[in-house]
C-alpha cells in the first residue's frame, strides 16, 4: 500500500536577509532507503527540510515530494509525515489531544491516534499535558504525529536528539523497518555516529552546500592507514615500498598508506620479517565526516609524526 515517494531537492537556495542559508542544494531521498542529511548546526539542514514541507518559501529552486509541492498534495499527511522540532506543542494540551487536532484537520481516524501513541510508547503519558514531558517524550510525540497519516515518506529533523540509549535503539529499528516497507526516510543529524547504523545514503551539507552525496559505504572507505613496526625498520620499509605502499617513519613505528592490515602482514611474512606491532589506524567514519564539515581554517591537516589519535570507530588491530 506504500506509494514509492522520492523526495527531490533541486538547485535549492534560501536567503534570509543577508545570510544565504542554503546554496544550490540538490539531492534525492529515495524510497525504501534511509537517507541521512548531515551537517553541523547552522549548515542549512532545517531550512532545507522546512522548504520541502512548505513551511518556508525557497528563494530559488524546488523541493518536491513525488514531483509535487507539499501544499499541492491531496492528502499531505498521508504522503509525508514529519517532525521538525520538539517545541511545537502547547504545554497545556495533552499529547493525545494534540494528535487528535491534527487527525481531525487531516481527515485521519481518531483510532489512529491511539495506535501511534502505542507505537511510540506514549499510551499512558498521552493523557497528560505536554508541559510535563521530557525532551525524549516530546521527540516521541513528534514521531507519533509524523506516523499519524501512515505516510509514504518520513522527514525527521534531529530525531535522535534527547533520546536515551534504549530510545535510540528503538528509533533505529523503527526507521529501518519503515524503509524496509518501501517508505522514504529522510532524517537530519549533526552527529554522523548517531545515525551511521541507521542510514543507507548520506548527504553532507556544509555552509549551505552539499559536500558529499552517496551511499554510506562510499563515505566509509577512507584512506587506509596501518601502523607497523619491526626490529629491522629499513628492511620493512623497503619491502612495503616495493609492494606499493607509502611509508613514513613515525614516532611509534612506520605509518603505511596504501595497504590494508592483511596485505601489510603478508608483505612482512614474505620478506621474512618478524613484526613487533601491526594495527589498523584508519580514520573512523566520524573523522571523515568531521573533515568534510570542518571549517577551512581547521581542515584536518595530516597529523604530525604520522599518527592520528586512534578513534573509537577504528577497527581493532592486532600486535604480531
Amino acid at each position: 500500500m506504500v506509494t514509492p515517494t522520492p523526495l527531490s531537492i533541486d538547485s535549492l537556495t534560501k536567503v534570509y536577509g543577508e545570510v544565504t542559508a542554503v546554496r544550490d542544494v540538490s539531492f534525492v531521498a529515495r524510497p525504501g532507503r534511509v537517507t541521512g542529511f548531515l551537517g553541523p548546526n547552522g549548515a542549512g539542514k532545517t531550512s532545507t527540510l522546512r522548504i520541502l514541507l512548505g513551511l518556508n518559501r525557497p528563494t530559488a529552486g524546488s523541493a518536491l515530494i513525488d514531483g509535487q509541492r507539499y501544499r499541492d498534495l491531496d492528502a499531505p499527511m498521508h504522503r509525508v509525515g514529519s517532525s521538525l522540532s520538539a517545541d511545537v506543542f502547547h504545554p497545556g494540551r495533552s499529547g493525545r489531544n494534540h494528535l487528535a487536532t491534527l487527525a481531525i484537520a487531516a481527515g485521519i481516524s481518531r483510532a489512529r491516534v491511539d495506535t501511534v501513541l502505542e507505537m511510540v510508547g506514549l499510551a499512558e503519558a498521552g493523557r497528560r499535558a505536554v508541559g510535563g514531558y521530557s525532551l525524549g517524550m516530546r521527540q516521541r510525540l513528534g514521531l507519533a504525529s509524523a506516523l499519524l497519516g501512515d505516510p509514504d515518506a518520513l522527514v525527521l529533523d534531529e530525531p535522535i536528539n534527547g533520546l536515551d540509549p534504549d530510545g535510540i535503539r528503538w528509533m533505529r529499528s523503527l526507521l529501518r523497518s519503515l524503509a524496509a516497507e518501501g517508505r522514504t526516510v529522510l532524517l537530519s543529524s549533526h552527529v554522523l555516529s548517531e545515525v551511521q547504523q541507521t542510514v543507507d545514503d548520506v548527504v553532507v551539507i556544509r555552509h549551505g552546500r552539499v559536500v558529499f552525496d552517496g551511499e554510506l559505504s562510499t563515505l566509509e572507505a577512507p584512506t587506509t592507514r596501518v601502523r607497523v613496526d619491526a626490529a629491522d625498520r629499513a628492511a620493512l620499509t623497503d619491502a612495503l615500498t616495493r609492494a606499493g605502499a607509502t611509508v613514513e617513519l613515525g614516532s611509534a613505528g612506520l605509518a603505511v598508506l596504501g595497504l590494508d592490515v592483511a596485505r601489510t602482514g603478508e608483505v612482512a611474512r614474505d620478506a621474512g620479517l618478524a613484526l613487533t606491532h601491526l594495527s589498523d589506524e584508519s580514520d573512523g567514519l566520524e573523522s571523515v565526516f568531521l573533515a568534510l564539515t570542518a571549517d577551512d581554517v581547521a581542515a584536518s591537516p595530516p597529523p604530525e609524526g604520522g599518527w592520528a589519535p586512534p578513534s573509537a570507530a577504528a577497527a581493532e588491530g592486532s600486535a604480531a
Binding site: L53, S85, H90, G92, A105
Partner: protein, 283 residues
C-alpha cells in the same frame, strides 16, 4: 469545503482541549453580572435617591426600557474585552507555542486555516455573548425586580438589544483574531487589547464627544459603533444620565451601520494578516 469543515473542527478541538476558553467564560459572566447588578441598583429609585443625596440635584428619571437596556448591555459596555482577547489568543497562541508548524503541516493551505479560525472566532464570540447575557440578565433583572423596577424583558426593543449583543461579541472576537494574526506576538496582543479597551478608547470617545467635528469621527470608533449596533451604551447615554455632560449633536450611526463598521474593521485586519503574517515563513 471538506477541508474547511475539517480545519474548523480541528480549531474547535484545539480550543476545547485547553482551559482558557472556560476561564474567559467565567470572567465574563462574573464581571458583566456584577456590573449589571450595580447598574440596576444605580438606576432604581433607591439608587437615584442615594445619588441625589449631598448634591441636592434631583436624579434624572430614566425611561424603564432605556434603564433595562443599559443594565443588560453591560456585556458590550464592559465585557467585550473577553471575546476580543479570545480572538487574539486564537491566533497568537499558534506563534507563541510554535503550533503553527503542525497546523500548517496538517493543512498547508493557510487561507483555509485562517478561515477556520474565523468561523471559530465568530461562533465562540457569540457564545461569550450568551454567557455575558446570562450574567447581565441573570443578575441585573433580579436586582431591578427586587428594587421595584420593571425588568422590561418582554419589550421587543430590549429583546433586540439582547440579540444584537451576540452579533457584537461575535464581531469583537473576529476583531481580536485579525489583530492577533497581524501582530503574532501574544504579549503585544494582550497589552494592546487591554490598553485599548480599558483606557485608550473610552478616553478617545469622551474627548471626541465634546466637539461636533470630532464626534462625527468618534462615532466610528469600535466602541461607539458597538453602542450603535446594540442600541445601548453607558458612554453613549452619559448625556441622558447627566445633562451637565457636554454632548455634540451628531447623528449616531444606525444599528446596521455600527455593525458594518465593526465587520469592515475585522475584515481589514484579517485580510491584512492573510496577505502578510500568514504568508511568511513559519519559524
Amino acid at each position: 469545503m471538506t477541508a474547511l469543515l475539517r480545519a474548523t473542527a480541528s480549531e474547535f478541538a484545539k480550543v476545547f482541549s485547553l482551559k482558557s476558553w472556560w476561564l474567559l467564560g467565567l470572567i465574563i459572566v462574573v464581571y458583566v453580572g456584577l456590573t449589571a447588578a450595580a447598574l440596576a441598583f444605580f438606576f432604581s429609585d433607591i439608587g437615584s435617591q442615594l445619588a441625589g443625596v449631598g448634591t441636592g440635584a434631583p436624579a434624572p428619571e430614566l425611561d424603564p426600557v432605556v434603564a433595562a437596556n443599559l443594565v443588560y448591555s453591560s456585556v458590550t459596555a464592559v465585557g467585550l474585552v473577553i471575546p476580543l482577547l479570545f480572538g487574539a489568543l486564537l491566533a497568537t497562541t499558534e506563534w507563541r507555542h510554535g503550533t503553527l508548524t503542525p497546523t500548517v503541516l496538517a493543512q498547508p493551505r493557510r487561507g483555509i486555516v485562517l478561515a477556520a479560525k474565523g468561523v471559530v472566532a465568530a461562533v465562540m464570540g457569540a457564545v461569550y455573548g450568551v454567557v455575558g447575557l446570562i450574567g447581565s440578565v441573570g443578575l441585573g433583572a433580579p436586582v431591578l425586580a427586587a428594587l421595584g423596577e420593571p425588568t422590561a424583558l418582554d419589550e421587543p426593543e430590549v429583546i433586540g438589544v439582547l440579540l444584537r449583543t451576540l452579533l457584537a461579541t461575535a464581531l469583537w472576537s473576529l476583531l481580536g483574531l485579525g489583530l492577533g494574526a497581524l501582530l503574532t506576538s501574544q504579549i503585544a496582543a494582550i497589552v494592546i487589547v487591554l490598553a485599548f479597551t480599558q483606557f485608550v478608547e473610552p478616553i478617545l470617545r469622551l474627548v471626541a464627544s465634546v466637539w461636533e467635528w470630532s464626534a462625527s469621527i468618534g462615532r466610528f470608533l469600535p466602541g461607539s459603533a458597538t453602542d450603535a449596533l446594540v442600541g445601548a451604551g453607558i458612554l453613549s447615554s452619559l448625556n441622558a444620565l447627566d445633562p451637565s455632560v457636554p454632548s455634540a449633536t451628531v447623528d449616531a450611526l444606525t444599528w446596521w451601520q455600527g455593525g458594518l463598521v465593526l465587520a469592515a474593521l475585522a475584515a481589514v485586519l484579517i485580510v491584512a494578516a492573510s496577505l502578510t503574517t500568514m504568508r511568511r515563513d513559519v519559524e
